[in-house]
Amino acid sequence: MSRTVLVFVKQVPDTQNITGDAMTPEGTVNRAALPAIFNPEDLNALEMALQLKDRYGMHVTVATMGPPKAAEILRDCLCRGADEAILLTDRAFAGADTLATSYALSCCAAKVQDVAVVLCGRQAIDGDTAQVGPQLSEKMQSPQICYAEDVVEMTENSITVRRRIDGGYEVLQSPLPALLTVVDSNDPRPMAARRIMKYKRAKTMSEIRAALGGAEADAAAVSAEAARLDAAGLLIREWSAADAGADLSRTGLAGSPTKVKQVMSVVLTAGEAKKVEPTADGVTALIHELIADHTLG
C-alpha cells in the first residue's frame, strides 16, 4: 500500500481581516500591510492528512509553491504533525495563473514517492478560484473528489469520502491514488508544544546558507549543516523548477493563458458608516452606487 499523503498548502495575504492599518488614505487595500497567513482551508486539508496518519499510519508530506518566506507555513505544518516538507520556489514560477500553478504542482507531486492521496484546501482566500485542485488532479491523471468533509474509510486501493453537494452530501468511492479538495469541516489541531521545540529549527538550504553568512558562506559548512538537519528530520527540501523537472514554457507568466487587463480597487469605508438620507434621492443614489460597484447586479 502506498503510504504517503501529500498535502499542498499556500501562504496567503489575510484578505478576510482587513483592518484600518491595511487601508491606504484613498481607501484601497495596501497589500503589503496585510499579514501572511496559512490559507484556512489548507489547514483543514492538513488536519485530514494528520487524521489519516493517526488512523492508518500514513506518512504526511507537505509542499508549497511560493517565495522563500513561505517556508514559515511548512514549519507550522511540521509543528502540527507533518513528517516532511517541500518548498517549491523559483522565479520561473512567479506570475502563474491556475493552469501554470497546477502544472508546477503536478511536477512536484510526480517527484514524491509512493503517494496514495493528494489533499488540497478547496480554495485560497487571495483568489478564491477553487481551480488548482481539480486542475492538478487532471494533470496527475487521477480521479478527484472536491468539497471533501471526511474520509469514511481508506483501504489498500480505495478511499471512501463524504463530500458536500448542493442541499446535502454524497459518499463517493475512488481508487487510489486520488486527489481530494477539503472544505472547512474539521477543527485543525494546534501546534504541539514538544514539536514546536524541535521543528522551529527546521530550515531550507537557503535559510541554512543565510544563517552561515549568505553568499560568503563556506560551502562545506553549509553541506555539513544540511546533512546534520536532514539526519534530524529538520531539513525542509527546497526545489527549483529544474529540480521538479518543470518545462519552463509551462510555468509562471509564460505558462499562463489568462492575462489581467485591468484592476480596480474597491474603495472600502473602514469603520465609519456613510450616511444616506432617508429620502428618494438619497436611496436612489445608494442603489446606483451599489449597481456601479457590482454589489447589485
Binding site: 487571495d126 468539497y147 484592476v263 446606483h288
Partner: protein, 336 residues
C-alpha cells in the same frame, strides 16, 4: 469564429436558474459576435428540457443521455464535454460558478490547456492590447471578477487557445423571458466513456431541495424586532425578490413568530457572508452581528440614530423602513 457554449446544470431534469441566466447572457454575446448559442445538456432522461433551453435562446442543444451520466460525477461529464470541445471548437464556454461548475470547468480547462476565470460577475466583448507581449486581440471576452477577498475587481482576458472559459456567479446575469416561438436544433450525442471515466462510484447521495439557502445567498434582506409585525415582513420579501436575495431575521423577530427559524442569522442561527446585507429594524446586538459582520457590504436601516448596528454598517439610513424599502425597490427596478 466558434460559437458560445453554456454548460446546463440540472438536477432530476430541473434546469438550474443559473444555467438559464447564462443562456440569456450567451444570447447577447453571440448576437454581438454573429455566432450561435449552444447548450450542453448531460444526464439521463432529459428530453423534456430541450424546449425550455431553446425558448430561452439556444440555437443548438447537444443532448447526451446515458445512465452513467446520472447522477452527476466529474470524470464522465468532463470526458463528454472535452470530446465535444475538440470536435466543434467553441469560442466561449460558460459554467455556473456552482459546486458542480467549479469542479468540472477546471478539469476541462486543464486538459485543453486553456484559460479559465472563476466567479465572473460581468462579461463583455472588447479588444485587448497585450502591451507586455506586444500582441493585440480583437473581440475577446472580458472576464470581470472580484478578487483578493472582494477588495479588487479584475478584468481578465484569455490569450491562448479557445475556448475562453469562465464560471459565472449565480444570480448576477439577468434571466430574460422565455419565448416559445424560438426555433432550435437538438443534436444527440453518444457519450464515448471508458472504464477510467467511471472509476468514482456514488455509494450514497442525500439531498433535499432546500427552500432556504441563507449561506449561499449573495444578497440578504434581514429584519429585526423593529419591523413590527409579520405583515411588515412582506415588504422585506418584496425587496429581497427584487434584488434576487433571501429574507433573514434576527432572533427577536424569529421568537416573535414572524419568520421561521431556518432564516435566523446570528450566534444561534446561521452565519452568513453575503455580498450585501440589508439590516432593517435590527438593533445590532452582538449575538446577531456575530453572524453577519463579515458581509462585504452592510446597509442598516433603523429609526434609532444610536442603534449599534450603525457602528458596523457601511451605509447608515436613519429613517422609517416602511418608506425607505419601497424607495429602494423603485430605484433598483428603474435602473436594472
Amino acid at each position: 469564429m466558434g460559437n458560445v457554449w453554456v454548460f446546463i446544470e440540472q438536477e432530476g431534469g430541473k434546469i438550474a436558474d443559473v444555467s438559464l441566466e447564462l443562456v440569456c447572457k450567451a444570447r447577447e454575446l453571440a448576437d454581438e459576435l454573429g455566432v450561435k448559442v449552444e447548450a450542453l445538456l448531460l444526464g439521463d432522461n432529459l428530453s423534456g428540457c430541450t424546449d425550455t433551453l431553446i425558448s430561452y435562446g439556444c440555437d443548438t442543444v447537444f443532448l447526451a443521455e446515458d445512465p452513467r451520466l446520472e447522477p452527476f460525477t466529474v470524470l464522465p461529464f468532463a470526458r463528454v464535454i472535452m470530446d465535444l470541445v475538440l470536435e466543434h471548437k467553441p469560442n466561449i464556454l460558460m459554467f455556473g460558478a456552482t459546486l458542480k461548475g467549479r469542479e468540472l470547468a477546471p478539469r476541462i480547462a486543464s486538459e485543453k490547456r486553456c484559460g479559465l476565470t472563476a466567479d465572473c460577475t460581468e462579461l463583455k466583448i472588447d479588444d485587448f492590447e497585450d502591451k507586455v507581449n506586444k500582441k493585440s486581440y480583437t473581440n475577446k471576452l472580458m472576464q470581470i471578477r472580484p478578487a483578493f477577498g472582494g477588495n479588487i475587481i479584475a478584468t481578465i482576458v484569455n490569450t491562448w487557445n479557445d475556448p475562453q472559459m469562465v464560471t459565472v456567479r449565480e444570480g448576477v446575469m439577468k434571466m430574460g423571458e422565455a419565448d416559445a416561438s424560438r426555433k432550435g436544433e437538438v443534436v444527440r450525442v453518444t457519450p464515448k466513456l471508458t472504464d477510467a471515466d467511471t472509476v468514482v462510484k456514488v455509494l450514497e447521495r442525500v439531498r433535499a431541495d432546500q427552500e432556504v439557502d441563507l449561506k449561499g445567498a449573495q444578497i440578504i434582506v434581514a429584519g429585526g424586532y423593529g419591523v413590527g409585525s409579520k405583515e411588515n415582513f412582506q415588504l422585506l420579501k418584496d425587496l429581497a425578490d427584487a434584488l434576487g436575495g433571501e429574507v433573514a431575521a434576527s432572533r427577536a423577530a424569529v421568537d416573535a413568530g414572524w419568520v421561521e427559524h431556518a432564516r435566523q442569522v446570528g450566534q444561534t442561527g446561521v452565519t452568513v457572508r453575503p455580498r450585501l446585507y440589508i439590516a432593517c429594524g435590527i438593533s445590532g446586538a452582538i449575538q446577531h452581528t456575530a453572524g453577519m459582520k463579515d458581509a462585504k457590504k452592510i446597509i442598516a436601516i433603523n429609526n434609532d440614530p444610536d442603534a449599534p448596528i450603525f457602528s458596523i454598517a457601511h451605509y447608515a439610513i436613519c429613517g422609517d423602513l416602511n418608506t425607505v424599502i419601497p424607495q429602494m425597490i423603485k430605484a433598483f427596478k428603474a435602473k436594472a
